[in-house]
Amino acid sequence: MAITPEEVRRVANLARIAFTDQELEPFAAQLSAILDYVRQLDDLDLGGVEPTAHVHDAVNAFREDEVRPSPGQDAMLANAPDREDGCFRVQKVIET
């Protein structure tokens, strides 16, 4: 199944990755080849087969809700590309 450059552009927008037009073309061809390969799964009759949700059928893992120490604000902000007053700083999202 051929994926068009337009479809790749749509997915790139969902994935929030910028591509140049020159990059899109080979990506479309590669994605098409991979999707052609995975189409072999269509050969199987999967009627009545449950999808695997967890490989060992584990169920919810509960623990007590206890206060525990954490690395703290400074440590957690230390890798921030931009910070101000104990917050991550980003560009304005809502236009006024």
Partner: protein
Amino acid sequence: MIPDLLDRTARQLRELLDRGEVTSEELVRAYLDRIAAVDPGVNAFITVAGDLALEMARTADARIRRGEAAPLTGIPLGLKDLLVTRGLRTTCGSRMLAEFVPPYDGTVVARLRDAGAVLLGKLNMDEFAMGSSNETSAFGPVRNPWDPDRVPGGSSGGSAAAVAAREVVAALGSDTGGSIRQPAALCGVVGLKPTYGRVSRYGLVAFASSLDQIGPLTRDVADAALLLTAISGKDPLDATSLDRPVPDYAARLRADPRGLRVGVPREYFVDGLDPEVEAAVRGAIGLLEDNGAEVVEVSLPHTEYAVATYYLIAPAEASSNLARYDGVKYGLRVAGRDLADTYRKTRAQGFGAEVKRRIMLGTYALSAGYYDAYYLRAQRVRTLIARDFRAAFERVDVLACPATPTPAFRLGEKAGDPLQMYLNDIFTIPANLAGLPAVSVPCGLTSGGLPIGLQFMAAPFGEQTLLDAAHAYERVRGEPVAYPDPASTA
């Protein structure tokens, strides 16, 4: 200096350290010298933590003198650079995290620190563990210590190469579709992927959360058993880790193949399997049989669908896991005209081509209208693959097969064709899909002098049986015929 010090296993070094015949500091200096001599050629390390290692070694020596040594106290190890280490840069082989210094230790790292192990540094890898050749690393490819023109495998290529080149005693890697076993096979070392849920993944940078598992790469099976005991067990910080007893795997190892039921899956001996690899693996299985193992042919009929299943599930999970790299909380930021544009530019420049390819594939497979046809279908096929294994393990204790279809290929040979690269994982992927423990053990060299890996797989939480089989094979095989000798620049 003690002769062949760099060839010793962790258990042999334990005796030397406890008897005071060598100190951890001497050992670490010997390894740092070795790294300085060969790593410019091998490129197994992204970060060498020399000062930290010497400090940890001196602390370990004091602990040994007090008679309080644990099995790994003072032993120099390396960590794949996706295990977060407090205060020590953790890059994931990516430009995105090139400057990232984690504020905490992953659980396996904390356990190794508590055991007194020494961390020599962080090891090279395919970017975000996506690759089978280590060529997708933003820090340059690793070269196979057996032949510098060939790949070490991936994604834990730095871990495998560092063990093979005697730059570390042992290393930890991670395995999502073969990323421990495939490079172990290509570099001639032992690589163990534990059962899904055996080892905590808290502090493992996530790739595909239903498949990822941390495990050791070592000189021999008993060292793998030793490290497995050190890192296993339930962790309240990882809800997917399971509460099962953690035996002293190394102490309980059996070396006798008599009575062991070994299944040989016929679907793993197919077109495309290198004749020398097939001959070596069949020879190894024959050797077990000659020594008393019971060998039977079994069938895992859905094997041919495993790669397609994996390349839907893993990219889908990756596309979700890697959404966190947005240039806000940590990592690279490339400023755009607004926040959405900043996301796009950050991810365009921070990620390499293979990571983008998988995010795109996963995003496509999960997008509106395609979920049922791709992701959900793959999860159903996964159920069939797991059922094949359950049926097989009603008849046999372990399965034995090749770890990879070919020995190490040349740098650049498959880099331009993603699908050819993916097919290299054909024999390792099924164990991840079914959550099984599996190990690759060296079983000889090709006529061109490249290592070949024999893979064993066992039922979930069957690590002891798995390691017993691998250890029994190792004993009947004898010592490896040769060690690699990467060019020294010193």
